[in-house]
Symmetry: C2
Subunit: 506 residues, 2 copies
Amino acid sequence: MGEMNVWSIDARTGEKVEAVATAATEAEVDAAAVRAAQVAPVLVGAGLEGRARLLRAMADEIEKDGDAIVAAADRESALGETRLRGELARSAYQLRLFAQVLEDGGYLELTIDHPDPNAIPAPRPDLRRMLIPVGPVAVFSASNFPLAFSVPGGDTASAIAAGCPVVVKAHSGHPYTSQLCAAALRRAAASVALPEDVVQVIHGRAGGTRLVQHPAIQAVGFTGSLGGGRALYDLACARPTPIPFYGELGSINPFVVTPAAAAERAEAIATGLAGSFTLGIGQFCTKPGLVFVPAGGDGQRLVAALADAAAKIPGGPMLTPSIRDGFLSGAAARAALPGVRVALAADGQTAPHVIVASASTLDDVLLEECFGPLVVVVEYADEDELFAALSRVPGSLTATVHCGQDEGGAGSFADRVAQRVSEQAGRILFNGYPTGVAVTWAQHHGGPYPATTFPHHTSVGTTAIRRFLRPVAYQDAPDGLLPAELREDNPLGLPRRVDGQYRLDG
Amino acid sequence: MGEMNVWSIDARTGEKVEAVATAATEAEVDAAAVRAAQVAPVLVGAGLEGRARLLRAMADEIEKDGDAIVAAADRESALGETRLRGELARSAYQLRLFAQVLEDGGYLELTIDHPDPNAIPAPRPDLRRMLIPVGPVAVFSASNFPLAFSVPGGDTASAIAAGCPVVVKAHSGHPYTSQLCAAALRRAAASVALPEDVVQVIHGRAGGTRLVQHPAIQAVGFTGSLGGGRALYDLACARPTPIPFYGELGSINPFVVTPAAAAERAEAIATGLAGSFTLGIGQFCTKPGLVFVPAGGDGQRLVAALADAAAKIPGGPMLTPSIRDGFLSGAAARAALPGVRVALAADGQTAPHVIVASASTLDDVLLEECFGPLVVVVEYADEDELFAALSRVPGSLTATVHCGQDEGGAGSFADRVAQRVSEQAGRILFNGYPTGVAVTWAQHHGGPYPATTFPHHTSVGTTAIRRFLRPVAYQDAPDGLLPAELREDNPLGLPRRVDGQYRLDG
């Protein structure tokens, strides 16, 4: 196989602008994985302070190159400058937040049990536990967030914070953006006297497949499609030494409007929904894709207002030609289903679509994500019909409940819905819209399969770091052979659980 | 397929004593999984306090039946009354420790971020995160700990604490013990007005296979062999909706004696080692199976003393006929390898064996676990040879370093060894012996594959509960619709991280 050029394509015109890289050969993938393993000890050795400095330098460097990065991302994604400036700010914030996570130190889960010769049921040695990095991590970039879920995104930030070098498989939709971001991150490493190879980028699908199987890679972060993600997940599990594959594979994000909420504010909900399902041309993993409204007048008002509001929202180019084709054929297939009513069509256009169906005759196809500006509204006759339909909804990143003013207490209709959907989603929103995922300590961006392959983990928020850590316990270690984090005098002043009691000053 | 009797076999005589159950049919497995799902909400609803009471009742009930349980376990395992009384005490202690974990509440990882309309890079909603139970858990009992890693063992205790009903696949080696233990645990549930079906037991290999694939099962805890465990792991990964399979599959547990340690106390180390590798007829997952000693006089003294000490330790019946057969053929195969010296043989007996090899010619077979009273001693000429051999050692639950009095500081030979083995084991011991795993807050009983399928997790210690939990975040929830754990006024007085700061009183 000869050298394969990787082209930067203008998302608005479909034109090949320039060849920005070549697809990684097998030898190049292997070399990248080996280099990642070689620099891993340096990243660990940098310690909490050194990695915090690195993360802040990375934030600074992507901001310094902000104009060029945003211009490249806009050309390659058509997402627009405003959105992409926001995404860049989010990525920089995220890198700096992980620096705070390191300084806080709680993520290390430091735990010390002193020896007890009289312990029941048996004498107990000195045991000291902490989390340590797993080693090199492969990151698969997302198409739809060229900055926040790609080279400088949450996977990279959390892996670097944990102490794991990263090899990013760039998304084919924005290779030039990926190159620019990688250059900034690598320059940041050099600026704090760390190896540039703590972040590497490769291009090409075959290279990504090989990367998941390389023995040096210890974990994978992935954001993408169900088909591609599941195939890579299967490869990760089938390795001689399996590794965790943290994949975010797609989400329908159920959204339930209770009868009381529909009666109180059908139009307001419709307006919010229209903005949410069309945001970024509907290309959000948290897009509300399946909206349950009560059958009858209030629900009908909501649907009408939703179609009206969405009709005023312009469409636009999608991220890539294949995403556009997938959307158009998916929208056409849904509209053609028996029993379905098309409340807003945009034939052959990547513009808002509203499809209406009945809970009692809901087709399985409508339970599948349709990536793009399309929403399916499902009318339910009563609570039984709603719950029967909800039980068929696949695991999702989010579930939203819109409730009435008098439903804020235990036992209400809204409460029962919230309890039910908490079994099938990672984030439960009330009276809001799921697009937009704040980067905070309490955030959870995960959910039961197929939303993610590991609902125990998140790809957004400070606890995303946990994916790239494993515990180790030291038994009866001489104090001088312990990592500083676990030494008896707590030289780093970190919070620790000691003899069962959590202590903020260790 | 007709009814298949499950026999309780006397481990000392090989005699079938009585049929104590029948192998579960497909319908029975399905019914058990469905019942587990049905009682799951009740276990969640019991709350921290209710589950703490349940765990303590379970401890009380297995203690009440202690005489009968220990007698059954002794007959079925030949492990002896003293050991089994200790194991029962350990299991009871473990159940009560998890009650403390619930009362502590830190395991919930409660995290609250208040809304901030002025947040950078974007306004931030109210977000509240906690861990919730994943749902029904399948537990596969171990052969070698009929009480501590079986029906009332660490997997069951941590799953119940998390709020997950358990279906245990009993080990074929101790079905009667399993029945007695299950009866005690189920009686405990009834005694605190909870459904008995929070713990169920099934028998038979086919039933276990079906259990792993049942849609209601959300996670698996497994302790057993590499072959059987990997096969079940593969099934868990290949499900339409994959689930985590927390398997402990076998461990060689490297044990390194530095030149200084050998010079200082070869005989003392040999005595300790002899006791450790023969404990329970060598049937411990933490048995030190591969001991590295310096070539030359001190190492030779150690080997001689080890063979002498081990020769005085009696053998005995092993857990099951197939385990005995596996041990005898494994021991014979190792003794027959070219370049291997047999320092202590016990031809055809399940009694201590000491095999000596050279690091420079170490055969791959010697890197595989040999379950039973056999230890492989590897002589290394220098640090390079030691490290080259260590790099071939598979992931292990433990690694042990015996160091000299002057090696307690950074940069010593012992330090370099400890750093190296921390990459391939979950617990690093110093100057001790790895058999015996204290149940504490800081314990970690896990390690890189094949020691476990998920080195991020432990099956012993309080953090074992994490395996059966997943996060959920509530966004802008009305206070009355939040779980009590996350309500603004913190009615349960739990520790919480609020706006980035950890607070012991929430």
